[in-house]
């Protein structure tokens, strides 16, 4: 490829990247725009009329009023933010306590029927929510968990994708290290704790980030299993916001976006490793 071609290609890709990031930028600036500016720009979208909506690349009079309003005068925002936090933390802790050892067993402990169990995990991992929704509903009903946060947390703790992905990370640890430890007389528990966990920690980070993004974004599960509004996570709260509160809507959306974006930026390296490994063959 010559220089001109490279510059052209770069220009096309930069353009595309800007296009993809535009909706994010749009949402962020919305949170800092004043109510009159939002109404002036977006009135055509929310009321009748023939004019077209507009948008300013930067807010003309940047303000923190909506963020303050959400943080000060919207108790329901706090309730739902807190629900999202509990759901996400519950899922992550559960997966760490149960999923990590399971992945270690499937990757590194000897057992004759291991391959079959792993295939079972893969099959379950590939089942979409449409298939699992009604079966899970039955279990949750029997356990009396419907309409509790546990109804969203528990099935997600036992989702098999994190285990599968972690098992791949653990498989990448060189076998010689483990053999050497065994010869030195280390027990399996100690090998897991002192070799597996430290060497597998990038994998645990990657899976943790993927799980976080997924749990923070859950919509179908809370929608189906939670009836009481005060138990809803943020993802179900945001769509209900009306035009009169659109500034608040953007501010709430931004507050929901911040934790996900911070995690994405700080852990991107792990995330890319995780994605890459989920695609490779055995």
């Amino acid at each position: 490829m010559n220089k001109v071609q490279k510059i052209l290609l770069g220009a096309v890709l930069v353009g595309l990247a800007l296009m993809l990031c535009f909706p994010i930028w749009f949402g962020i600036t919305g949170a800092f725009s004043s109510q009159w500016e939002l109404e002036a720009n977006l009135a055509p979208v929310f009321t009748v009329g023939e004019k077209m909506a507009a948008w300013s690349f930067l807010p003309q009079a940047p303000t923190l009023e909506h963020l303050v309003q959400v943080l000060m005068d919207a108790p329901e925002f706090f309730t739902m933010f807190w629900n999202s936090v509990i759901i996400t933390l519950g899922i992550l802790i559960g997966q760490l306590l149960l999923g990590v050892p399971a992945a270690w067993a499937l990757a590194r402990l000897p057992f004759p029927g291991k391959g079959k169990i792993l295939s079972g995990y893969i099959v379950l991992m590939l089942m979409p929510f449409q298939v699992l929704m009604y079966p899970q509903y039955l279990v949750l009903r029997d356990f009396g968990l419907l309409d509790t946060l546990g109804a969203v947390i528990l099935p997600a703790v036992f989702s098999t994708f994190p285990v599968f992905l972690l098992h791949r990370f653990f498989l990448a640890i060189p076998g010689e290290i483990l053999e050497a430890a065994r010869i030195d007389g280390a027990g399996e528990l100690r090998i897991f704790w002192q070799i597996g966990m430290p060497l597998g920690s990038p994998g645990i980070m990657a899976v943790g980030i993927l799980s976080f993004l997924d749990s923070w974004n859950l919509i179908e599960q809370p929608m189906t299993y939670l009836k009481t509004k005060s138990l809803w996570p943020l993802s179900l709260f945001l769509p209900q916001i009306q035009l009169e509160d659109i500034g608040m809507g953007f501010a709430a959306a931004l507050l929901m976006l911040i934790p996900a974006l911070l995690l994405f930026i700080s852990g991107q390296e792990y995330l890319e490793q995780g994605i890459a490994l989920s695609g490779g063959k055995d």
Partner: protein, 288 residues
Amino acid sequence: MEKEKQRRGGFAKIWIFWVFLLPDLLGALIFALVPMLRVLLGSFQSAVGSRWVGFQNYATVLCNGAFHLALGNTARFTLICIPILLVLSLGLALGLRALPGIGSTLRSAFLMPMAVPAASVVLVWKVLFHKQGLLNGILLSIFGTRIDWMNSDASFWMLVISYLWRNLGYTTVLWTAGLAAIPEGIYEAAKVDGAAGWQVLRYITLPSLKGTGYTIAVLSLLNSFKVFREAWLVAGDYPQQSMYLMQHLYNNWFRELDFDKIAAASVMTSVVVFVLIALLGKAWDKKE
């Protein structure tokens, strides 16, 4: 004596295996596998009174108009989206590879939408895709025409755009990993043989990516089920009919307590997914 010791050692290892695995495995059995079998059984029974009705639930679902609509839309969505996504992201991965300097920065930008919660962009989507929204503003100034995204069949394309927006970066990273796994030696051999540009792509890169491609196709298929989120957030329970998906149908049946229909439809969906997985497995085996 020696044998006895070995046997006991083997037993200890199996024991420790179960200590590690069992808590998680039990959960997966209780929350997924066992209830799935129960649903299989339930699909042959009536919703009220659990009478045995044979294949009647299946017949009801297969003759249901809403089911046809949802199935048709979901199938059309998958068949259109996945090829576009695969080709576009492969192109991107190749493009990024050719630009080693800014490639990784750009990859971050492409990947960013994946981290954005669907609910966080719902307002943006409403403003972009409204009849008098920003996207139409651009279309109007360039082509002098606009599209009623929300209230016409164009709503289907809104779903396609949402899906591509969210998944492009993820899939590009998958392809990039696949590209990185091709041994450098093959390219060098090709260079020695005088192959250049398109020939390398056609005869070396693409054939080497076959296995990766199958995997990516399946992962993309699974992610395609999640586009319901955008559809529901933007348009609610009863959207314009060209974006009425399987998940909408399930939710509506669920509200109306049509559990017999849900059971039959769940079983059919899992069979379809199962067949697709089997095909993937075969593809993997072939590559070995």
